[in-house]
């Protein structure tokens, strides 16, 4: 049977050996880090963005590379998923973009700070994270559940304006694609005329006080494009 001094040798020997391996692997990890994390792309904005990220303890709700608090979405690929424009609008007033949902603090970032946060998240999204997060691997239609009837619309014929796919689609769906915070817009063109849609987009609150629809920062031509597109959805 093991004696006490053998037990001690096992403890000390094991600790020393595995600590040494750990230090060796750490040196190698640090050596490979520049390539794996694209250090050349770490601009001044990225560094500032990281500071803002930490200063406000964003990880106290969100996760990043899967590390965080599981209360708010993982933001590793958020720039790829939502796009810079949407994040920019979202940060101005998070609760307006997801009314009645889980709340996020309104941080009142300046234009510059928002650019920095987005730059940081964009850089994080391009880190070589061994393929994480994985793509969903169970196709929804393989599950025997009653399907939401797919709405037939002429959306395919008409291409979506850029701003529409950047902003509106986060909450509204067209042709089964998009968010479900607001109603689907497949037949919106037959319900409202273009004049009404134009006024609605200019100031939703003025038309329907208390509506969940936020007033989006759109220039006149952008709004016109969207109205034309919506009017065609019949």
């Amino acid at each position: 049977m093991l004696s006490k001094s053998q037990a001690r040798a096992f403890f000390l020997g094991g600790t020393f050996l595995f600590s040494a391996i750990f230090v060796f692997l750490t040196v190698d990890t640090v050596r490979q880090n520049d390539t794996r994390t694209n250090v050349q792309n770490m601009t001044e904005d990225v560094l500032k963005g990281k500071e803002i990220w930490e200063k406000n303890n964003c990880m106290g709700c969100h996760t990043l590379l899967g590390e965080g608090a599981y209360y708010a979405p993982d933001l590793t690929k958020v720039v790829e998923r939502r796009g810079a424009t949407w994040i920019d609008v979202f940060l101005d007033d998070p609760q307006a973009m997801f009314p009645g949902e889980r709340k996020m603090v309104k941080y009142n970032f300046t234009k510059e700070e928002k650019v920095q946060v987005i730059a940081f998240l964009d850089w994080v999204g391009k880190i070589n994270a061994n393929g994480w997060p994985p793509k969903p691997n169970i196709p929804i239609d393989s599950i025997a559940t009653p399907q939401i009837p797919q709405v037939k619309s002429n959306a395919v014929v008409l291409s979506q304006p850029e701003k529409f796919s950047q902003l509106c689609i986060a909450c509204h769906a067209v042709g089964g694609k998009g968010g479900n915070v607001g109603p689907a817009l497949d037949h919106v063109g037959s319900k409202f005329d273009s004049d009404y849609l134009n006024r609605w987009l200019s100031d939703p609150q003025a038309i329907k006080p208390g509506t969940n629809m936020p007033k989006l920062p759109l220039t006149d031509p952008e709004r016109k494009d969207i109205v034309t597109y919506l009017s065609a959805l019949k």
């Binding site: 001690r8 595995f18 599981y70």
Partner: protein
């Protein structure tokens, strides 16, 4: 208690009770926010509640370890503590730093790195504080009449815990490296040197409560902590799968974290065997409940549930979901919280000379809190598995999935209420013991050594 200076431990334990209560309050704030009742959002947003909840956990456990050390080291060294005055100064400054940190969290003053949210200036104060603590303990051991393995393992654990705090204080502008070295603190604490501290405290309690020969217990202490380091050091790799580090961490982290349950299994078998070998019955059954309970629950929570989601092909789906929260709750409860409660249960009658361990309330505290914690873990497990399938495997939207699992959080809140009842019983018992008394010096109630 044998020595007058062991009384210091009482004040550390009292601080523990206070911080634990506060931790529970913040846990409830988070639980309610998850079911949509987030009325405190403007004053205590989720990230504040979360940082407070986890930091209070760390601080109360460390306070408990310090109290345990101040209680155990004099007895193991067979002499008074080096300086009682220093111990009180240390406790006071520790509490002041903690209070400032927690108030700071409510005013957006923090470092924003998970588990290490304490702002940098306060980090330095923590270091000074812990050095003071270690100096006091080291001097006591240095001038001791006798050396014991338990004493040395405990000291080595505390020393390494202090040293490993330092990598967390280096600033990295690269997120991957930042995360890499943050785990040196968090993982190597929880799955490394804290287990050493746990082993040391467990050995002391087993010696006192079972009366089995010290040599036998201490031999197995080496084996258990040996297994801990053997698996735990490279087991850090399971945090390095998806943060931008090389691919070999998948294999190394996978293999060594699969070995991690062995250390906890060893701990459980060791404690149960020593109990089976006992000569006589120690009257303080409640302390024995917590001691053996800790050894077993740590195997389930830290060993088994950790094992359940650290294999890379599983972890790629469960990483960053409520599965982690599920494992975290039972792991911390079993391994460290129950152990601190075991030390307190053992030490209180000795410190005060009052034999409250004969009553019913101790058992109520034990069973209500344990069943409550198992219920919370179960609720989080179901919520976590649902989340993994809907969000990760099917690709549903995060917020949509969160609405699907609200029901499980109602379950969690109910289990948490039972847990809180248990802890309330424990604290009431703690208060009923009263203050440490001079008449209790020089004798231990019912020790078998």
């Amino acid at each position: 208690m044998r020595f007058q200076s062991q009384k210091v431990a009482y004040w550390f334990f009292a601080t523990c009770m206070l911080l634990l209560s506060l931790q529970i309050v913040y846990g409830f704030i988070m639980g309610f926010a998850r079911i949509g009742l987030d009325g405190l959002h403007d004053f205590i947003p989720f990230n504040t509640a979360r940082a407070t909840h986890t930091n209070l956990l760390v601080v109360w456990l460390l306070t408990g370890f310090m109290g345990a050390a101040y209680y155990i080291i004099p007895e193991e060294s067979d002499r008074e503590l080096y300086s009682v005055k220093l111990a009180y100064i240390q406790l006071l400054s520790w509490v002041v730093v903690g209070v400032i940190a927690i108030i700071g969290f409510h005013f957006n003053w923090w470092e924003g790195r998970k588990f290490l949210e304490i702002p940098r200036p306060l980090d330095y104060l923590v270091v000074v504080n812990v050095l003071t603590f270690l100096f006091n303990i080291a001097m006591t051991i240095w001038q001791a009449k006798k050396r014991s393995t338990t004493q040395l393992v405990l000291f080595f654990g505390l020393l390494c815990a202090a040293l490993l705090y330092l990598p967390g204080m280096i600033y990295f502008d690269n997120q991957t490296l930042d995360s890499y070295f943050r785990w040196w603190v968090v993982h190597l604490w929880v799955e490394g040197v804290w287990e050493l501290i746990m082993g040391g405290i467990l050995a002391f309690l087993l010696i006192k409560l079972t009366g089995v020969d010290r040599e036998v217990i201490e031999k197995w202490l080496y084996v258990v902590v040996g297994l801990t380091f053997l698996s735990g050091i490279l087991g850090t790799g399971h945090h390095y799968y998806w943060i931008g580090t090389p691919k070999y961490w998948l294999m190394i982290g996978g293999i060594f974290s699969a070995l991690e349950p062995l250390a906890f299994l060893g701990m459980a078998i060791w404690a149960l065997n020593m109990y089976r070998k006992k000569g006589k019955n120690h009257p303080n059954k409640i302390a024995l409940y917590w001691t053996l309970g800790s050894a077993m629950m740590s195997f389930i929570g830290a060993g088994f549930l950790g094992f359940a989601h650290t294999w890379p092909s599983v972890n790629q789906w469960t990483h960053g979901t409520l599965i982690t929260a599920m494992h975290g709750h039972l792991a911390f409860w079993g391994a460290y919280a129950m152990l601190v409660l075991a030390v307190i249960s053992y030490a209180m009658p000795n410190l005060t000379g009052r034999k409250l361990f004969t009553g019913m309330s101790g058992y109520l505290a034990f069973w209500a809190s344990n069943i409550g914690m198992l219920g919370m873990t179960g609720a989080l497990a179901v919520a976590g598995i649902t989340q993994v399938y809907l969000e990760r495997k099917l690709g549903m939207d995060f917020l949509v999935v969160q609405k699907e699992i609200i029901f499980h959080f109602i379950g969690m809140l109910l289990a948490a209420t039972l847990f809180t009842v248990g802890i309330a019983y424990f604290i009431v018992d703690f208060i009923r013991h009263g203050l440490p008394s001079n008449e209790a010096v020089g004798k231990n109630l019912g020790d078998l050594d």
